[in-house]
Every structure is written in structure tokens, then in C-alpha cells.
């Protein structure tokens, strides 16, 4: 049993990182929230929120995003777990290189995924080019990039490495002897995965599920550059904010258009 003094000491040790986080994240977020409910005339008002939620395009974008977040989280978890399992436990020559390759994918700016997908599946991309060359048809069969399925593909491509990375780290600390014992006792691979590997991976996996679902919902920069989806809220936040807050070409602070615009950005982002 931990003594009362020990618990107090534990809390004191937890304070410094929390204080740093409060200063660099909680305080700024609070300012944004405060700004979003303070109209130009002064006072407090929820009108900006009413305006945002009244707009049809915002609500439909919200539905699409929730749908996409659920779909891509499920896809990333299943795909990431399967791929990490093979890399860690069915080793093949070059497996380490593949693991490194996954790391590099993390440094991929997300809009580059969209660019690469455009090169491959775009209207004049590789896949359609190959198809028209082979069949002589005027245009290829791949048109899914402008639909939500294209966004789903981009998000799964972008976020699966985020799932694999911690899983591989967790797997690397799993004692191989446990697997050997289980298998020498007659357990089949599926059972070993279920009874030995999955419990070990569950903390990492659960954390990842939460993290990737929220980031799928939020980091839509992959879908931002995808044609036809320019209007989703994170994209709007980004472009408007850059215009009104650009440090290099900032308009005079007193200009009403810039302050009201930044206010609407805050609102859209928080409503997000």
C-alpha cells in the first residue's frame, strides 16, 4: 500500500509536465474558445455557433467526416495489426528494412499521399493510362478518387503506419519463448495471436484506436488537397486562418474584416 505522503509526492512529480502542457496548449485553446464567443461588438454571444451549425454544408461535412473517421480507424487497426504481425512474427529477409520504410512513411507530409494517389489513380494517371493503352477505351475505369472512397484510401494509407509503429515496438518486447511454448503445447497460430499476442498488444492498440480515430477526424490535410472535398471544416479553417493571420502579410490588427474572419475560424474550429 502506498502511503498518503507517497501519493502526494506522486502528484507533485506529475505537476511539472502538466504545468507545461497547460501553458502551451490549454491556455491557447481557452483563448480560442473565448474568442469564438466574443463578437466584434463586445459581450458574449453564441451566434457564430448558430450560424456555423445552421449551414447545410457544415452539417453534411460533419456527417461525412464521422463516417470517414470510423471507417478509416477500423481499416487502419485491422491492416496495421495484420502487417505488424507478419513483420514481427513471420520474419522474412528484408523485414527490418520494411519496418524502417514504415517509419519513413510517418514523415510523409500527408498531402503527398494525395499527390501520389493522383499520379496513380487520377483521370490521367498510371492506372487509367495502362487501361486505355491496353483496351483502347477512351477513358479508364478508376474514378473513385473524387468520392469519399478516395479519401478513405488516402487516410488508411496515411494512418496505418501510425498504428504499426507502436505495435512493432510492443512486439519487440514480447519474449519469443512464450510463442514457442504455446505452439509446442499445440496451439495453432490463430489461437496464439488471440491468447498471447493480442493481450500483449492491447494497451498499444487501444491507445492507437483512440488516437487514430481522433486524428482521422481532424487531420484532414490528406483529404484537403483531394479534389472535390475542399469544403470540409479543417480545410476551411486552415485556408481562412492563413489568409487572416499570415505572419508575413498580416493585415492591420484593427481591420474589422480580419478580426471577424479569425473569429469565424475559431468558431468553425471549436465547433469541430
Amino acid at each position: 500500500m502506498v502511503s498518503r505522503a507517497g501519493r502526494t509526492a506522486a502528484w507533485i512529480w506529475a505537476l511539472p509536465p502538466v504545468a507545461v502542457l497547460a501553458l502551451v496548449l490549454l491556455y491557447p485553446l481557452a483563448l480560442v474558445v473565448q474568442q469564438s464567443v466574443t463578437p466584434d461588438e463586445g459581450g458574449t454571444s453564441l451566434t457564430p455557433y448558430a450560424d456555423v451549425f445552421a449551414s447545410e454544408s457544415f452539417r453534411s461535412a460533419l456527417t461525412t467526416t464521422v463516417w470517414l473517421a470510423v471507417g478509416s480507424t477500423a481499416g487502419c487497426l485491422v491492416l496495421g495489426f495484420a502487417l505488424a504481425l507478419v513483420i514481427a512474427f513471420v520474419p522474412f529477409p528484408g523485414g527490418r528494412a520494411v519496418a524502417r520504410f514504415i517509419d519513413v512513411f510517418l514523415s510523409f507530409p500527408s498531402f503527398l499521399i494525395t499527390l501520389a494517389l493522383l499520379f496513380i489513380y487520377g483521370t490521367v494517371g498510371m492506372a487509367n493510362g495502362l487501361w486505355t493503352d491496353a483496351t483502347g477505351a477512351p477513358e479508364g475505369p478508376f474514378h473513385f478518387l473524387t468520392t469519399p472512397w478516395g479519401v478513405l484510401l488516402a487516410e488508411i494509407t496515411y494512418f496505418t503506419p501510425f498504428v504499426m509503429r507502436p505495435l512493432l515496438a510492443a512486439f519487440s518486447q514480447l519474449d519469443t519463448a512464450q510463442l514457442e511454448v504455446a505452439s509446442s503445447l499445440g496451439a495453432r497460430p490463430a489461437r496464439i495471436v488471440r491468447k498471447v499476442i493480442l493481450p500483449e498488444a492491447l494497451p498499444a492498440l487501444a491507445v492507437e484506436a483512440a488516437a487514430s480515430s481522433s486524428s482521422c477526424a481532424s487531420t484532414n490535410s490528406a483529404s484537403c488537397s483531394s479534389p472535390g472535398r475542399k469544403g470540409s471544416p479543417p480545410c476551411r479553417c486552415s485556408s481562412t486562418a492563413r489568409r487572416s493571420w499570415n505572419p508575413t502579410t498580416r493585415p492591420p490588427a484593427s481591420s474589422p474584416s480580419s478580426t471577424s474572419r479569425s473569429r469565424s475560424v475559431s468558431t468553425a474550429c471549436i465547433g469541430w
Binding site: 502528484w11 499527390l115 515496438a169 510463442l179 505452439s183 486562418a241
Partner: protein, 265 residues
């Protein structure tokens, strides 16, 4: 280890390749191919050239690369310190406190990075702390964004840590600081290096918050790539992206050399 029969192994590898190649290898290869071409209008690229790389490794791009490396290094070290400190501290709290810390440190991921960028911009463009227009605001935003990942990987590893080792050390008279330094941290080292690599890679590729914050004399590489592709010079953008990934890969290889007996594979 998991699959013993030869046929089973080959089947597993085949499925792996079938998923891995189209989803991850092909997009990357396409970018690499694009960085070497002058023209891509049909099924395959044409007009091989290396001049995009000449542009990507000189002048502005070279400076942007240094900027990105310095930013990512500072941000990941800071995030690793804060994140693992919080994770270690959270592990010694009871359930409620741990939940609270988990929620707090999950916040930077739960909040869209654009919003984090905006919030940092709003908060540090006014007194008492004026950082807008300096490089520190970029480093600060990157630190905030990657801290969550450091915290998560370290706290996931702490949960899996066998408490027997610490208890044995403590029962032999080791003080808490000594247990932390000689037992916990060495056992956590694989996760710490993994977290450092993850933070570094994330910071190297961060665009959406950076776009709002960067001062003209501190332009990270992703911004450079975005500007290039936005202008329509797709192939130069692809070359700069390949340089970015190469640099990240080199650093990650260096980080992964740090290994201890705590990892089996």
C-alpha cells in the same frame, strides 16, 4: 515463429505483399519516379533528368532542410522529456489521476493540428509571451503536436513493464531515483527510442499547423514542398519530398542503433 509450415509462410508473405505493395510501396515509388522525370502524361513517366535534385539540394531547399532538421530535433527532444516524465509520473498515480493525465496528454492529438496552430498563434501573438514571427513558435507548436505520441508510446510500454524488477530492486534497498535510473529507464529504452523516432518523423512531416505559424526566415521543408506543388512544379516538389524522406530515414537509422538487452528483436 508463428507459422511453421513452408506453405503457410509463403501464403502469409504473399498476402503481406499484396497489401503492402499497392498501399505503401507504389505511392512512394511513384513519387521517386516523378522526381526523376520532366514529363508524365501517359501511363509511364518520360524524359529522365536529375535537375530537380540539383534544385532540391541547393539554396532555399537546403536551408529548409536544415530548418526542418533543427525544428524536429528540438521538438522531439522536448516532447520526449515532457511526455515520458508525464508517463512515468502517471504510472505512480492511482486510477483517477492516471485517467486525468491520459486525457490531458491525449488532447494534442484529439484537437486538429490546425486548431493547435491557431491556438498557439492566438496565444503567443499577445503579451505576456510574444513569440509570433520567431522560429520558437514553430518549435513550440511542433512540440505540442508530438508530445501526445511520446506520452502514449511510453505509457503503453510502462503498462507492460513487469513490476517485479522494480519491487526486487526496491526490496534490496534501492531508492526510487535509483530504481528509475537503473531499472525503469533501461527497460523502457526501446520504447523511448521508438518514441523519439516517431516524434522526429512526425515533426519532419508536419504541415498544417506550420503553415499558419512559420516566419519567412524559418521555412520548414514540408512548406517548401507544398509551395512547389501548389505552384504546379510537381516534379520539383517530388524531388524535395524524396530528400525529406531520405534525411528522415538517415536520422531514424541512427536512432535505431540505440538498443539494449530489453528488446528481443
Amino acid at each position: 515463429m508463428l507459422v511453421h509450415s513452408r506453405a503457410g509462410k509463403w501464403a502469409t508473405w504473399a498476402v503481406f505483399l499484396l497489401l503492402f505493395v499497392p498501399l505503401f510501396a507504389v505511392p512512394l515509388l511513384v513519387l521517386v519516379a516523378a522526381s526523376f522525370t520532366t514529363n508524365w502524361s501517359g501511363a509511364f513517366p518520360s524524359g529522365p533528368t536529375t535537375e530537380h535534385y540539383a534544385a532540391a539540394t541547393s539554396g532555399d531547399s537546403l536551408q529548409a532542410l536544415t530548418t526542418s532538421l533543427v525544428t524536429a530535433l528540438c521538438a522531439s527532444l522536448l516532447a520526449l522529456t515532457i511526455g515520458s516524465w508525464a508517463a512515468v509520473a502517471a504510472a505512480s498515480l492511482r486510477k483517477r489521476g492516471r485517467r486525468l493525465l491520459d486525457a490531458l496528454f491525449m488532447l494534442p492529438v484529439a484537437v486538429p493540428s490546425v486548431v493547435v496552430g491557431l491556438a498557439v498563434l492566438v496565444a503567443f501573438s499577445r503579451p505576456p509571451v510574444l513569440l509570433n514571427g520567431t522560429r520558437w513558435i514553430v518549435i513550440l507548436a511542433h512540440t505540442v503536436l508530438v508530445t501526445a505520441f511520446a506520452y502514449q508510446s511510453v505509457s503503453a510500454a510502462i503498462v507492460r513493464l513487469d513490476p517485479m524488477y522494480e519491487q526486487a530492486a526496491a526490496s534490496l534497498g534501492a531508492r526510487p531515483g535509483y530504481v528509475l535510473w537503473r531499472i525503469k529507464l533501461p527497460l523502457l529504452l526501446p520504447s523511448l527510442t521508438a518514441a523519439a523516432g516517431l516524434c522526429f518523423a512526425l515533426s519532419m512531416g508536419e504541415l498544417s499547423a506550420t503553415m499558419m505559424l512559420y516566419p519567412p526566415d524559418w521555412t520548414p521543408l514540408p512548406v517548401q514542398i507544398f509551395a512547389a506543388t501548389d505552384r504546379g512544379s510537381l516534379f520539383t516538389g517530388a524531388a524535395v519530398a524524396v530528400v525529406l524522406m531520405g534525411a528522415t530515414l538517415l536520422v531514424l537509422l541512427g536512432v535505431s542503433r540505440i538498443r539494449t538487452r530489453a528488446s528481443y528483436r
